[in-house]
């Protein structure tokens, strides 16, 4: 008798616990008959993304998993993998990466990937229309983040930010020419263009600025020997990092001794403003290049055989979650510009408001046109020569 009673007791307890836990486990209909359907196995949604979104996506994924949202009745586990945009594109092309969702920093990469995929498979990997077409999650422009004192010296050349920087770099006495021999030579940095979206964008803005245009950059422009000479001078004073987030972190960790300025994403700079102040007793200021580029962080659900209908449904659920007002407001707190138009940028607690005196601009100047792949390839070749990479 005893074992039987024990079994009954335990069985009853389990039933009570299971019923109580149902809403927590994501069971949407607590009154559904218990015995009818076995719970589907959880689905794992894998997302490869550009590292600058790490903090936002990790927090959002945790909130999403806790919310109990399901896909076709299955609970959703999110697996995030941060990689440089170009690196992840190459992983998709060589088959080493098979995620359900790809979210590089810019839709520039979607176009480059599709172009290659179309040739191989006869169709795009990222759908270009329909309800699963990519949607942008957040936006951020490129800035030059500089230490305040040094920024003043960089902005008094009367030319564009890039030209002022160049003039300071080539001055034989370095910072001595601006009355600060103790700062040594002018040192700056940007992300590696062959690996990182941020690096390629910075390079593109430099090329446009050198040729004083904002559209129609040609292969001849980027192969112009005078441009190459100018670029070599710029890059001789530069250090590169494969990750834009690590580069920005190094700027704060090693301080003005290592970098007077870096080309970076606005959101990465905004996230470090307070750290910069507390560590070096100096402020960072943001200088906006005269023409800019958005990183629009597309969320692309891949049209691939490894993405099951349940994966696809899970991907849509997470996309909608990221585009919810709460998550968009969270992104603004982290220094991104929202994709949802009615989420304000200039709320009292927003980093855009708090750092207004550090040069943060709500409007972003002229945008440049993204040239075709052949021009980008030629530009990367030019960079490899200029930077001796």
């Amino acid at each position: 008798m005893r074992p039987l009673r024990l079994a009954i007791t335990i069985g009853y307890l389990l039933l009570v616990i299971a019923t109580a836990a149902m809403p927590l486990l994501g069971w949407q209909r607590p009154y559904a008959p218990l015995s009818v359907l076995p719970r589907p196995a959880p689905v794992t949604l894998t997302i490869v993304y550009g590292t600058e979104k790490q903090r936002w996506l990790e927090d959002a994924a945790a909130a999403f998993e806790a919310s109990g949202i399901t896909a076709n009745g299955a609970s959703i586990d999110i697996e995030l993998r941060g990689l440089g945009s170009r690196e992840s594109m190459q992983g998709l092309l060589d088959g080493s990466l098979k995620p359900d969702v790809w979210s590089p920093a810019s839709d520039l990469w979607l176009a480059l990937l599709n172009q290659e995929w179309q040739q191989r498979a006869g169709r795009p990997l990222v759908p270009t229309s329909g309800s699963d077409a990519p949607q942008m999650l957040v936006l951020t422009p490129i800035v030059l983040a500089a230490w305040q004192q040094r920024a003043a010296a960089l902005s008094d050349g009367g030319q564009s930010a890039w030209q002022n920087l160049h003039a300071s770099i080539v001055a034989p006495e370095g910072w001595g020419a601006k009355g600060h021999p103790e700062w040594g030579t002018v040192k700056w940095g940007h992300a590696t263009p062959t690996v990182s979206n941020n690096g390629l964008q910075a390079l593109l803005l430099m090329a446009y600025d050198y040729h004083r245009k904002s559209s129609g950059l040609t292969v001849a422009d980027v192969q112009d020997p005078e441009f190459l000479g100018w670029l070599s001078e710029m890059e001789r004073a530069a250090s590169f990092n494969d990750s834009s987030a690590t580069l920005m972190n190094d700027m704060i960790a090693f301080g003005p001794s290592r970098y007077d300025a870096v080309a970076t994403y606005e959101n990465l700079a905004l996230a470090q403003m307070a750290n910069a102040r507390s560590r070096w007793n100096d402020n960072l200021v943001l200088i906006y290049p005269p023409a800019n580029l958005w990183s629009n962080h597309p969320y692309a659900i891949l049209d691939a055989e490894w993405v099951t209908p349940t994966d696809r449904e899970a991907a849509r659920q997470f996309r909608d979650f990221l585009l919810s007002r709460a998550q968009q407001e969270q992104a603004v707190q982290l220094g991104f510009r929202p994709a949802l138009r009615d989420v304000p940028l200039d709320g009292a607690a927003s980093p855009f408001t708090r750092n207004a005196s550090a040069g943060v601009r709500l409007d972003v100047p002229t945008l440049v046109e993204v040239p075709e792949a052949a021009v980008l390839d030629a530009l990367l070749d030019a960079w490899k020569r200029a930077a001796q990479r």
């Binding site: 103790e182 030579t185 960790a253 560590r279």
Partner: protein
């Protein structure tokens, strides 16, 4: 029926005992669980105290990869030595953390393998500074005036020495230098000297390093070097002991300076962040390419743990600056401990591997040469294994000196005798080797007589700043001949720049007598026994 239950209970107990929740004594790493993913971290010695604590804590934290617990083990290894062992394959860590990522460049260059690591991230930061006694730095205009390598060179060349700055009692400027083959600070120092010599702060080339003018700059600065050293420790200990009379300045990591000042010395040191720029030592977290996929994932978790605000704050207590930018900088990185948290303001560029190797080689070719008198106890008490092991040690020592060094040998028992007069080692090496082999032991210990003889051997070179003048004294006892006194010896050496390095040989060596000698020439007594005398001589060879 009972047996399986008992077994289960036992298993449960065992699991609990091995489990992550079991607290082991702080600082003591527990055993690795049987199914653990084991990773090893080879680190440079200045991180020892921090990592002992952190690794134990990590192993208790329950970190897992593929549902298996991670067990991290530390190996304490000097940066230069670790790079040699990794190159030879005798050390194969999952993660390597030398003082500076410069060593990764050296390893890539020397091994011809640019893909030896999969990633390298800064973990703890400390800048290289020139430490100087506060009153001396103030005499040079610190903190209002920025001081650099060129100012030091001017001071080296100044015949009046510190007298030029109103302090003739400090004598001439002197400094110390460790070996760039082993010490990261020494390697950074050599690079800084070459940059200063060429008036550059980036783009140092092999041609720059090999230029005669650069090498002369190095030799000129070398004129004021008191002696070289195996590592930073001997210098900081002697600075603590002898204060301003030992050396005027010494390049070190900011963390070493903070540690020094924490001990509340009578005269504190201050950090000079050289005007021309300096280097950061970034204590990188390098994941080696030999690590498996699983080990790399485990390494990532260890990095996240070591980079956490808690671990980074703990490191700051030792004087490191955190690499995690969310951790604010505070004490002890402050003027109270001789540091300036707003410095450095500019850097020198880390040159590529080929230039690093060329700089190391150029240093070896241009470092100050030495006049060394070996003073060897051949009294009766040295009988047996003792003298045989010492002979082997002396041979090793001779093999490590430069061919251009000049060496003499004096032996003593009842009396002292110059058995090999001072000569260039490349010419008298065989003579020295046979003199070592022919040593016979008997009689008393005329140590003081021997030191007075050695002084005479160096007579002609006393004022030669181009060479280190040193005596290596190997003895196991006190003077028993009593023909000269300690006071006689002290009077003989007064006002000379000769350093006497006594080796107290054997358990029963008369350390007090030898310590007296070390004290007035401001060196250290090195203890050796038959088991380690070879190592003692090898380390000592790096002083010259």
């Amino acid at each position: 029926m009972m047996k399986p239950i008992r077994l289960l209970l036992l298993l449960a107990l065992l699991l609990t005992a091995c489990g992550p929740t079991t607290a082991s004594p702080p600082g003591e790493a527990s055993e690795a669980p049987a199914n653990a993913v084991k990773i090893t971290l080879a680190y440079s010695p200045e991180k020892e105290a921090w990592l002992n604590d952190r690794l134990a804590e990590f192993n208790r934290s329950g970190a897992k990869v593929n549902n298996r617990p991670i067990f991290a083990e530390g190996v304490n290894k000097s940066s230069g030595a670790a790079r040699t062992e990794i190159k030879q394959g005798s050390l194969q860590p999952t993660i390597w953390s030398p003082s500076s990522s410069v060593w990764l460049e050296v390893l890539k260059q020397e091994s011809g393998n640019p893909n030896v690591a999969v990633s390298s991230r800064p973990m703890l930061l400390t800048p290289v500074v020139i430490s100087m006694w506060k009153p001396m730095a103030e005499a040079l205009g610190w903190p209002n005036k920025q001081i650099g390598w060129n100012d030091l060179l001017a001071l080296v060349n100044e015949p009046e020495g510190w007298g030029k700055y109103g302090h003739p009692e400090w004598g001439r400027f002197s400094w110390g230098h460790t070996d760039p083959e082993i010490s990261t600070t020494a390697l950074s120092t050599v690079l800084a000297e070459f940059y200063a010599a060429t008036n550059k702060s980036r783009g140092l080339t092999e041609a720059d390093v090999q230029a005669e003018s650069s090498q002369k700059f190095l030799r000129d600065l070398g004129l004021a070097i008191k002696h070289y050293g195996y590592n930073t420790l001997v210098f900081s200990e002697n600075m603590k002991k002898y204060g301003t009379s030992y050396i005027s300045a010494f390049p070190m990591e900011e963390i070493t300076l903070i540690e020094f000042n924490k001990s509340a010395p009578p005269t504190p040191l201050v950090a000079i962040y050289p005007r021309e720029g300096t280097f950061w030592h970034d204590n990188p977290f390098i994941v080696m390419a030999s690590a498996s996929q699983e080990e790399q994932q485990a390494a990532q978790q260890l990095f996240d743990f070591l980079n956490s605000p808690e671990s980074q704050t703990a490191a700051m207590q030792f004087g490191f600056r955190p690499a995690n930018t969310a951790v604010a900088i505070g004490d002890p990185i402050s003027p109270q401990f001789g540091a300036d948290p707003n410095q450095p303001q500019t850097l020198l560029e880390v040159p590529p591997g080929n230039v690093l190797v060329a700089a190391k080689n150029a240093w070896a070719a241009n470092r100050k040469r030495a006049n060394i008198v070996l003073v060897v106890d051949t009294s009766g008490s040295m009988r047996g294994d003792k003298i045989e092991e010492a002979k082997a040690g002396l041979e090793l020592f001779l093999s490590r000196l430069l061919p251009e060094d000049r060496v003499a040998m004096v032996t003593f028992s009842d009396t002292a005798e110059v058995v090999v007069p001072l000569g260039v080692l490349s010419e008298n090496r065989i003579q020295l080797q046979s003199a070592v082999q022919n040593i016979e032991v008997e009689g008393k210990t005329a140590m003081y007589d021997a030191l007075r003889e050695a002084r005479k051997v160096l007579e002609a070179d006393i004022d030669d700043r181009n060479r280190i003048n040193a005596i290596v004294l190997l003895s196991d006892g006190e003077d028993t001949a009593q023909t000269s006194t300690f006071e006689d010896v002290r009077a003989d050496y007064n006002e000379t720049d000769i350093s006497i390095f006594p080796i107290a040989y054997g358990e029963d060596a008369a350390k007090d007598a030898l310590q007296q000698i070390a004290d007035f020439t401001r060196t250290i007594v090195i203890s050796g026994s038959t088991g380690d005398i070879n190592k003692v001589f090898e380390n000592l060879s790096r002083y010259f």
